[in-house]
């Protein structure tokens, strides 16, 4: 642990800042455009790896109009921070999504990210696209089980060596040599499973807070010693798409970016794509005016709550959280947590369960004292410290006063 901390301090000095460059200049985009055009033409020549579903047909079958699809394409172009002229390329890339093989494994998780993709009542364009990507292996979704499933995975790794994107959902339990989580007929530990599948992947996309930073399984006291993928796998390109669940728009954004440019998007120091995690919730929140005015919801259902006041005093962690929910929202822009009247719990940040997800401001939260033992609110801890100092001073003052008097008597 101490070694890890030294490492993390070292990595700090090389950390990339969270700065987002939204305009990289005419020339850059012209070159990028040409590059993308070439890449798409090449991809078109490849026969879809295993499924032949056409996105256009799939979308029509689901009852989404061409107009809606183009609207989606321009919104996604903007989300990826590309100029509007890229919209046709993005639409085209969407139709070529099944050219990139994807392997999706689940570790210590609730399958919430898979559910987020699959379980909405009207599928959104993002979800349809995720449905038709060339998903070579997905434990929850596929029909095969046991040895068959194992075989299918081996085949996928073999066939698409170095080409597939590996999606990982769930944290890696490192405790008792990984024995907290095993899978398959051979009882392979999650650690070995991850290493085996990661070895030949083109890149790893960790989706959800568990796969990225350990998430809820890693919450104190972290019984299984859960860790995120980037803390377990070395020497691989990793993209983190945290949040609980990860927003399907951001997952599609990353795959699309890869299909379109052949590269992964620009990342911040926590390996999160900047196009999604370069924004602070608080700075794009519709309740921000109430924050600045000092108008807060004091209690669930009070007058402030009815008037959409800021949720800061109910523990909103928007000021400390980087994610694009306040911009792209969920379920094709329908709504997002603060919009429905509850605060942000910082689900896209490391350690969110312990350090963000309590329904009161940080000052009043029970966070472990530095000694690791007692949980006390930060202010209680501070007042305790002050009281201790006060008592010390009181004793010293009283003792000085008495001792001083005796001195004087002695002199007299």
């Amino acid at each position: 642990m101490a070694g890890d901390k030294i490492e993390s301090v070292k990595s700090l000095f090389t950390a990339k800042s969270a700065k987002v460059e939204t305009n990289k200049g005419e020339e850059y985009y012209q070159n990028l455009y040409a590059q993308c055009r070439e890449r798409l033409d090449n991809l078109k020549k490849i026969v879809p790896v295993s499924n032949n579903i056409k996105i256009k047909e799939a979308i029509e079958e689901e009852g989404v109009s061409r107009r809606d699809f183009l609207k989606w394409a321009s919104a996604t172009t903007a989300m990826l921070m590309l100029p509007a002229s890229f919209t046709p390329l993005v639409a085209e890339a969407a139709t070529l999504m099944n050219r990139v093989p994807v392997v999706w494994i689940e570790l210590q998780d609730c399958a919430g990210n898979s559910e987020a993709l699959l379980r909405s009542d009207g599928p959104t364009v993002d979800e349809i696209i995720l449905d038709i990507i060339s998903l070579e292996f997905h434990e929850t979704l596929m029909a095969a089980a046991g040895h068959q499933a194992e075989k299918q995975l081996e085949d996928a790794i073999e066939t698409f060596k170095g080409k597939y994107l590996l999606f990982v959902e769930g944290s890696v339990p490192m405790g008792i040599n990984g024995q907290y989580g095993t899978l398959g007929a051979k009882g392979e530990t999650f650690i070995d499973h991850l290493h085996r599948v990661a070895k030949d992947a083109a890149a790893i996309i960790a989706v959800g807070s568990c796969a990225t930073f350990g998430g809820i399984p890693a919450a104190a006291p972290n019984p299984t010693d859960a860790k995120g993928v980037m803390d377990v796998v070395n020497g691989k390109t990793i993209v983190n798409i945290p949040a609980c669940p990860a927003n399907p728009s951001n997952m599609v954004g990353v795959i699309l970016h890869y299909v379109l440019t052949g590269q992964l998007p620009e990342l911040d120091s926590l390996l999160r794509p900047k196009f999604a995690f370069g924004y602070r919730i608080h700075d794009n929140c519709e309740r921000r005016a109430h924050f600045d005015a000092g108008e807060y919801v004091e209690e669930w259902g009070d007058e402030g709550a009815k008037n959409n006041f800021c949720l800061y005093k109910m523990g909103c962690k928007g000021p400390m959280t980087f994610n694009n929910c306040s911009i792209v929202r969920y379920n094709e822009g329908v709504n997002w947590p603060v919009g429905v009247g509850r605060g942000c719990i910082g689900c896209s940040e490391p350690d969110f369960w312990d350090k963000y997800a309590y329904e009161r401001p940080m000052a009043n939260a029970n966070i472990k004292a530095p000694t690791g033992g007692v949980e006390k609110s930060v202010d209680e801890f501070g007042l305790g410290l002050l009281t201790a100092a006060g008592i010390g001073i009181g004793i010293h003052a009283a003792a000085s006063a008495i001792a001083g008097k005796k001195d004087n008597q002695g002199e007299a």
Partner: protein
């Protein structure tokens, strides 16, 4: 002047001005900081949001005193090396002489002024170390505070140009893992919440520091009988001219 006493200058007027600016800034920083942490008074609901701006004013006040702290800290850092009195850096080096003096003063404090065996005409090692602790605490507040501040400039833009957020990132990004180290957790990835927790906890350490500082200056004044508290006001104190004659 009372007979047998000699006046010694200890703080120039510039140093005293800095001292009282710091005093004022600290009160404001604590009052506004606590409001930012958990707004402790409510605003009237009848007014439109744009007119009230209560949190925004609190943050404005907090940032203004923060900038003042920034500037005074630079001056204080300068004085550590170039002060025309005993240069403070010479008093915090762990030399045999300094260590001896440090413990002499500490022992005197613990034994309730029974063994005043050190020269009190200049700033002693104990006090200098104590002030150095304050400056280090303040520095940490500055760096963590600026880190919290630059998080709000995530666009990389600012009213004074892009160099400012870039510079702040270079200067303060280290506080993220450092704070994570101080706060601790089972997860190895640091976050800005760690910085915020540290910023808040260290405010309490500073408050404790201030309470003892004021107590100690008053205690010294009463027991040493050399008018120490006047240093912060008039700039000078008195020392007994001939200690042996006194005994």
């Amino acid at each position: 002047m009372k007979k047998g006493y000699k006046k010694v200058e200890r703080m120039t007027s510039a140093m005293r001005i800095i001292h009282w600016i710091n005093f004022f800034s600290m009160i404001v920083a604590i009052a506004t900081g606590l409001y930012i942490a958990a707004p402790y008074y409510q605003t009237l609901i009848a007014e439109p949001a744009v007119d009230k701006y209560v949190m925004a004013w609190n943050r404005w006040g907090h940032f203004m005193v923060a900038i003042i702290f920034d500037v005074t800290s630079i001056v204080v850092a300068y004085l550590y090396f170039f002060s025309r009195f005993e240069k403070p850096y010479k008093k915090v080096l762990p030399t045999a002489k300094n260590i001896k003096e440090f413990f002499a003063v500490l022992v005197n404090l613990i034994t309730l002024n029974r063994s005043k065996k050190f020269d009190s005409s200049h700033s002693d090692s104990f006090n200098t170390v104590y002030f150095t602790i304050f400056h280090l605490l303040l520095l940490l507040m500055l760096f963590t505070g600026l880190q919290l501040y630059v998080e709000g400039l995530e666009s990389g833009l600012s009213s004074i140009g892009t160099w400012w957020p870039s510079m702040l990132h270079i200067a303060t990004d280290w506080t993220i893992p450092f704070s994570h180290f101080l706060v601790g957790s089972s997860v190895q990835d640091a976050t800005i919440m760690d910085v915020r927790i540290v910023h808040h906890r260290f405010m309490w350490l500073i408050i404790v520091w201030v309470v003892f500082h004021i107590y100690y200056q008053v205690w010294r004044t009463i027991f040493w009988q050399e008018g120490d508290i006047a240093i912060a006001f008039g700039g000078s104190k008195y020392v007994k001219e001939d200690k042996k004659a006194e005994n």
